[in-house]
């Protein structure tokens, strides 16, 4: 199921106010963005994800798996950012600044840095599978779709990724 397959032109459907979507799924999307990108880029990716979602939202079919939909958008935003093709943040203007505390707090945690380095070192499919299965709590079927493979392959990638992280952390602990 692709994002476009979730869309429908009908308007008779009843969707909850978008605010509910942000309140319910904002923290998960933030966790995913932070795992995919550094803290500063994660804030941009979070905003871009929800902005894109807001734009498409009126055409979303009710009953869609909202979390999988949002994580799919975040996945694409992160790919854009990593390629450096993301829309650059618009001139600050009257926009509220992201408080420095957000960027700073992530820097404080060296565990955060170690984990990101370990995650980043994984092959892309393993990294994606670990993040989408365990941090976003998507099903293996959803992870498989997101990574353009199968549920079986996603399950294997997630297991391999976790095994690899475990190995690295065991090594790191000995150092």
């Amino acid at each position: 199921m692709t994002v476009s397959a979730l869309m429908t032109r009908t308007r008779d459907a009843v969707l909850p106010p978008f605010e509910e979507i942000v309140a319910e799924h904002g923290p998960v999307v933030k966790r995913v963005c932070r795992a995919l990108l550094g803290p500063a880029d994660a804030a941009d990716a979070w905003s871009e994800t929800f902005l894109s979602a807001l734009e498409a939202y009126p055409k979303l079919r009710p009953g869609s798996r909202i979390r999988a939909w949002l994580v799919t958008i975040a996945h694409r935003k992160a790919i854009d950012q990593r390629r450096g093709t993301a829309r650059r943040p618009q001139p600050a203007g009257d926009l509220p600044e992201i408080p420095a505390a957000d960027a700073a707090s992530a820097g404080e945690s060296s565990m955060d840095d170690d984990l990101r380095a370990a995650l980043d070192a994984l092959p892309p499919k393993q990294r994606g599978a670990v993040i989408y299965r365990y941090l976003a709590d998507l099903s293996y079927a959803e992870v498989g779709e997101l990574l353009e493979s199968s549920a079986t392959a996603a399950r294997r990638s997630a297991a391999d990724g976790i095994a690899s992280l475990r190995e690295q952390f065991s090594k790191g602990a000995k150092r």
């Binding site: 009843v14 969707l15 909850p16 106010p17 978008f18 605010e19 942000v22 904002g26 923290p27 933030k30 966790r31 995913v32 932070r34 795992a35 804030a43 979070w46 905003s47 929800f50 902005l51 807001l54 734009e55 939202y57 009126p58 618009q90 009257d94 926009l95 509220p96 600044e97 992201i98 408080p99 505390a101 957000d102 707090s105 992530a106 945690s109 565990m111 955060d112 984990l115 990101r116 995650l119 670990v130 365990y134 941090l135 976790i162 095994a163 992280l165 475990r166 952390f169 065991s170 602990a173």
Partner: protein, 202 residues
Amino acid sequence: MSDKQIIDRLTNAFTDVASDGLHSRLAALAERQGLLDVSYRTVDSPLGLLLLAATGEGLVRVAFNCEDHDAVLAGLANDISPRILRTPRRLDEAAHQLDEYFAGKRRAFNVPVDLRLAHGFRRSVLEHLRRIPYGVTQSYAAVARAAGNPSAVRAAASACSHNPIPLVVPCHRVVRSDGTTGEYLGGPEAKRALLAMEAAAA
């Protein structure tokens, strides 16, 4: 280290519970890009917590606590657009004027209103209500006449009791010909309190 420990460690490392201004940034971006169809906030009042909602055109809904704000927002998502975010900024002025009104310092509201939730005769009634001055009451019969249909007294009463923008569109100033207060979205006691407040200040 077990798989579960690895997963817990990952989850903890990337979970940030701090409130960080992301939401207000999203709202500002959405507004700038024309993606914010309805914004809302709540405001405290002597009549309880009020929900204020606005479109780009103006104040579109004022809801009393007894109406169930979640249900009201769900209704707006259905009737106007689900692109709804809590964004105080667009409603600061309306909230401020309501504060002044309840403090007895304001007699007329000067904020744009969007009457799209009322149609036909009901809308004519609301447009007339906006011209009833502070501290003055009118009968439903007089309102029906002023709105262009003297025989539609019951419809005028219904338009008042379904007014989507109470307080700002002062349906509380319309009373029964026998002097009793009649129905009100916020309850008859709220209506009596408003009339007493305006009578005292007028």
